[in-house]
Symmetry: C2
């Protein structure tokens, strides 16, 4: 039987990352391709204990339906944390719990964009968000991402057209590049969006994972009227498998997101929400984050020093101050196809999985001679081995 699919999904492809993740189910593969937090940094023991308490004390809440907006005690805790950081303004904002930040970003696009509306993203951009936006048939335009954030002149050019509804940014330790937007650019981007009446969707999954440099305030900190939608998550600091994120935005936007979340999954798993709440109540979040950052600092340092030792000098790479990713770029002249061949050879013949940069392109025709490395998932030994293998292969495939 032949099916006619809706136009908005007809051309959507499964993410190349997830395809490679499936590859890395082979235990022999060293995966530098994932976006998973470091397993040793997650509080699995604490969560196990809290889970026992939840199911012994409140099984009725854990196992029955909850309200779409989220488990009230958790919502209140998240509001407190965000208010303390100057992100949640109770005068006009509201906060709800989502099934990961992925849901927060997807539903933001759904409630704000008609088919054909323009949505701006960093170029390159996280594939999960790109596909979420594409699935609503919006017109995606990429703004060149530099070391200190998007190119502001390009942003203004795009905004000037007047057709931009939403500007999607990951200002901290961006996925896939690891780059962080400077404070100056955050202010400039915010002012421009105000001038041209666009909404900013600020995705901050990695902000808590800064292990070097100085914290930079969020774009949402500049907001005085509800122009910025802010999404966050417990995936990188507690556990991704429990699927708990949150979104802080103007009450009117939240109200529409709630209706869309209601029809999407009714509510987020109760147990997961209760787990986050109990963790925040029982443990000191800052102390937990300090411990996590040490793990990440060590892992990044190790990967950077191995890259330095093993990769050809012609390969450029970012030196992130947080997050999960390093972005490596080959010299001019290397083609997208050569890059994909390199990544395929690495996983197929040498059992090292990495993601070709083209996975993060808006259009298939965009040239990309980069690849993404993840330093949080592998063990130290595997990371060293993986980088050595990649170094050898780079020298072979791209000599001199």
């Amino acid at each position: 039987m032949e099916f006619r699919f809706s136009e908005k999904v007809a051309y959507l492809q499964a993410s190349q990352i997830r395809e490679i993740l499936k590859y890395s189910a082979d235990p022999a593969v060293i995966s530098l391709a994932a976006g998973s937090p470091a397993p040793e940094a997650l509080p699995a023991k604490e969560l196990e204990e809290l889970s026992g308490e939840i199911l012994a004390e409140e099984p009725g809440i854990a196992f029955q339906y909850g309200v779409t907006e989220g488990y009230t005690p958790l919502r209140d805790e998240v509001k407190k944390i965000l208010a303390k950081r100057g992100i949640y303004n109770p005068e006009y904002d509201d906060v709800i719990i989502t099934s990961g930040a992925q849901q927060a970003n997807e539903l933001s696009a759904k409630v704000l964009c008609n088919e054909g509306d323009t949505l701006l993203t960093e170029k390159p951009c996280f594939i999960g968000s790109l596909n979420a936006f594409k699935s609503y048939h919006v017109d995606l335009k990429g703004i060149t991402l530099e070391e200190d954030g998007i190119n502001i002149a390009e942003l203004e050019e795009a905004l000037k057209t007047g057709s931009v509804r939403l500007v999607y940014l990951i200002p901290n330790f961006q996925n896939p590049t690891g780059n962080t937007m400077s404070w100056e650019k955050r202010v400039q981007a915010f002012e421009l969006c105000k001038k041209y009446n666009a909404i900013i969707l600020e995705d901050n999954p990695y902000g808590d994972l800064r292990f070097a440099g100085e914290d930079i305030k969020c774009i949402k900190n500049l907001d005085t009227e509800g122009r910025v939608i802010y999404s966050g998550t417990f995936s990188k600091i507690l556990s991704p498998g429990i699927r708990v994120g949150y979104v802080c935005a103007h009450k009117d936007i939240i109200q529409k997101i709630v209706v869309c979340k209601q029809v999407a999954d009714v509510h987020t798993t109760m147990w997961s929400q209760m787990l986050c709440y109990r963790f925040l109540k029982k443990y000191d979040l800052d102390e937990h984050l300090t411990k996590m950052r040490k793990v990440y600092e060590h892992k990044t340092g190790l990967m950077l020093s191995e890259i330095e030792k093993n990769f050809p000098k012609t390969v450029e790479y970012t030196k992130p101050q947080g997050g999960l990713f390093i972005w490596c770029t080959l010299p001019e002249g290397v083609t997208t196809q050569q890059m994909i061949d390199f990544c395929t050879t690495a996983v197929r013949d040498y059992k090292v999985a990495i993601v070709p940069g083209s996975a993060f392109s808006i259009k298939e025709s965009d040239e990309c001679r980069s690849f993404r490395l993840n330093f949080s998932t592998p063990t130290d030994a595997n990371m060293v081995k993986g980088i050595q293998i990649l170094g050898k292969l780079l020298n072979e495939m791209f000599p001199g």
Copy 2:
């Protein structure tokens, strides 16, 4: 600040049921408004024990990312169960795990319908599905639901237009009416959809909860080519709070749903999926269902006998053979507004929550003089008390 929302969500309203659910957070309210399974029939103790085993034995799987298609052992178990029932045909079907059947239904509409495409539903229809479909700006048309299923002549009239993409049906113990579609009508509906090339979305959340009458095969049992999408759930038999459902459909449709699920929530909570898997492996599902059905049989019987004793004779009501709901209809002449007033008075002044039938209408202008009762959630004592209060109020507000 004023926001311009997308056309597809601009007119969506939060479900009246969930608004009333919030009301019933007041512990003094007797809720006959929910769609929750009977708490005493859920295996909370067993799930608690299984959860302990999962987190002790496989925390790495429970707490890290999983694949979008679902936890493989659970997918395989669901396939086995559905194959045994003649619902899953491995030649062309595939099965994935979803975050409740709600997600399965929503994503089916997303992948198959463009804005403006026609989607047929029973009239009245489950509000959660109606809003899911509306959120993709489809053209919803209702087909009159009779005691033995939709009116087949009306169905053919609608299909004849050639614009129908999807026909959404809850053949077993429908929400909100409790009605069950006869085998004859299932065959007729299937043949008509084949003739006019429409896809059927068969939602079967309550099928396992039959406590009287003979099982009727699913429409999906008639499928020979992938014309029927079948969605099911663990919400009514294990726990709704864990958010686990599944969808069985042609591989090509499943592939598109996977891409859309990936951008919706990456994957369903791992712990929830592992819980369902371990329950299916350790316990006898049929034995568990037999126990559940006894509870439901008792509760329905009690509610029906109380209605018989307390409601005015002019009120008609369905006598379901399974599921969670009874549908009560007042005599001709009673208006939608009078019905809403009755439900509002009941919850506000007499602390008994029920759902006005108009919550299940496609258009606000559709007249509806019915209300929905849920018999699974209340205790016996509260149910008796609630029906007595409603009976008294009915006699007062709609005297003979």
